[in-house]
């Protein structure tokens, strides 16, 4: 059994198990949300939403901006918690880890704020 026990993914040292759970929950959500994103952007109509007018029209359905903002937040959180897990494998010292955490929080907040602004701009063009 030891071989199996070793090969199961577990939280890294320095990774609070809640962050590991966040990575898993957002991962499951992304299978659905990214699945929708890929199908919409490649299979709607002929080759998905390819023109500015198509995208503005798509965002007029009120559920779409809500779904896209959720998708944005989930994908950014998953990407940054995943990146943090990878960076922990480089064994950063505590001060460096604190700087990395601060940078990742800022990047995440800016990315979600910017993306939400862009979504609302597109919706308002309809």
């Amino acid at each position: 059994m030891s071989a199996n026990v070793q090969s199961v993914s577990t939280p890294r040292s320095g990774e609070n198990s809640w962050w590991y759970l966040v990575k898993i929950v957002t991962g499951v959500l992304l299978v659905v949300l990214l699945g929708i994103h890929l199908v919409v952007n490649h299979f709607i109509g002929q080759h998905g939403l390819l023109t500015y007018a198509d995208i503005v029209a798509y965002y007029q359905n009120p559920i779409i901006p809500i779904m896209e903002i959720c998708f944005l937040a989930v994908v950014v959180i998953h990407a940054l918690t995943g990146l943090r897990g990878i960076l922990l494998d480089l064994k950063p010292s505590r001060p460096i880890l604190q700087v990395m955490d601060a940078v990742m929080v800022i990047v995440g907040v800016v990315a979600v704020a910017y993306g939400t602004w862009l979504i609302l701009v597109i919706k308002s063009r309809g």
Partner: protein, 136 residues
């Protein structure tokens, strides 16, 4: 068998010197390939995510900016690059399902079979996307 677990845990201890090993394909078993696949796609997709968000800022410039951008990226080279991103996302997502299942104790003793089955499924989905993206 406890001692084996102990030895291997030490062997797998994180270290900055192992950075290039993440990308080294030599001497890997299935689990090593699955690890490398997840790590390479993770880094690639994270880079693409932020690039994607920045480029989509073109939408704020109205139809002229965005539609001329789409015309630029409609060449076969860009479509092939896009397919690599789509493939990366599908591989990462399906391999991620295996990681989540085994985390909760599901299919732990059969994860090699699960990995192969999910990769076959990923390949089928990638081929469907590829055919669709390259044909009218």
């Amino acid at each position: 068998m406890i001692w084996r677990l102990k030895v291997d845990t030490q062997h797998n201890r994180p270290s900055p010197s192992k950075f290039w090993n993440w990308f080294n394909p030599v001497g890997r078993q299935t689990s090593g390939w699955a690890f490398m696949l997840q790590r390479v796609t993770a880094l690639g997709l994270t880079f693409y995510l932020f690039l994607h968000l920045i480029i989509l800022g073109q939408l704020a410039n109205g139809p002229q900016g965005y539609d001329s951008f789409i015309a630029l990226v409609s060449s076969p080279v860009f479509i092939a690059s896009e397919l690599i991103v789509v493939a990366g996302a599908i591989l990462h997502g399906l391999n991620g399902i295996r990681i989540i299942l085994t985390t909760f104790g599901v299919s732990v003793t059969r994860q090699k079979q699960l990995f192969y089955a999910l990769m076959v499924l990923a390949l089928i989905i990638i081929v469907i996307f590829g055919i669709h993206m390259f044909t009218a």
